[in-house]
Symmetry: C2
Subunit: 134 residues, 2 copies
Amino acid sequence: MNRKLQVKIRRRLGMGFMIAQRAYIKLYLITMVEQHRGYGYEMLVAMKQEFKPYGYVPPQSEIYRALHELVQQGVLYRTKKLKGNDPKVDFQEIVLYHFTNDGAEKAELYKKQVKTDLDRCLNMLHKAVNDNYS
Amino acid sequence: MNRKLQVKIRRRLGMGFMIAQRAYIKLYLITMVEQHRGYGYEMLVAMKQEFKPYGYVPPQSEIYRALHELVQQGVLYRTKKLKGNDPKVDFQEIVLYHFTNDGAEKAELYKKQVKTDLDRCLNMLHKAVNDNYS
DNA sequence: TGATGAACAATGTGTTCATCG
DNA sequence: CGATGAACACATTGTTCATCA
């Protein structure tokens, strides 16, 4: 049965009816790591700023969960570092994220999968608009 | 605080990160009722057929849940009827759905809200494509 | 098997709390 | 307050079970 397989695959990739917030955030995190953009909290505020006009406020917990998952998946690894240059004045430890050896490759694959899902969602939404609004 | 209010409203309307499957299905059900398209099971198979090319299989339970909610919201009311013309051969009872007095009006309002959400989702998805794929 | 419905389980996400320097 | 993390609670959904005439 082809359909059963397809459902299985989508299940394995964690795809539901629409794209999951987690996947959406991961996509942005990957892009940010590609650009060597700082650490978790910075990415959080960056996304918050970025999405302000869209009325979407990415929750703090989701950002961290997404980062942890990307580490789990072997895409990223972590390094710790003191934020300030002078340890005497700033003890704040931050966590930086980098691609693992095959991380960039894995990331590309993941992005491809997400792209497929994004397109699928776009199709579904366009269809709904066409079908239900005259 | 304006943002808190906005979140509250979206919460009350059941809006999450992306549009909910329930809302999406409700939209189609309303349209089908507008077109006097049969009963629950028929709408289910119709949607299954309709979405086959999209790889989306609307679950049976969601259809019924959506119909029940529309009744709860006072948009639809139910009538029961025997499916076959001859009660001696076919005792299958089916449930037909119709708009209540102000049902059509309520439905229009709901559709407008969903449209807003659909557009918001489309924007978010387009943005993700633009931001993360070169 | 057609048709409707509900119970139950799992998952994703929002909220809150905890910690640390 | 910046930064990271986890606990907990809740809502939406998927799966399974139940029933009917």
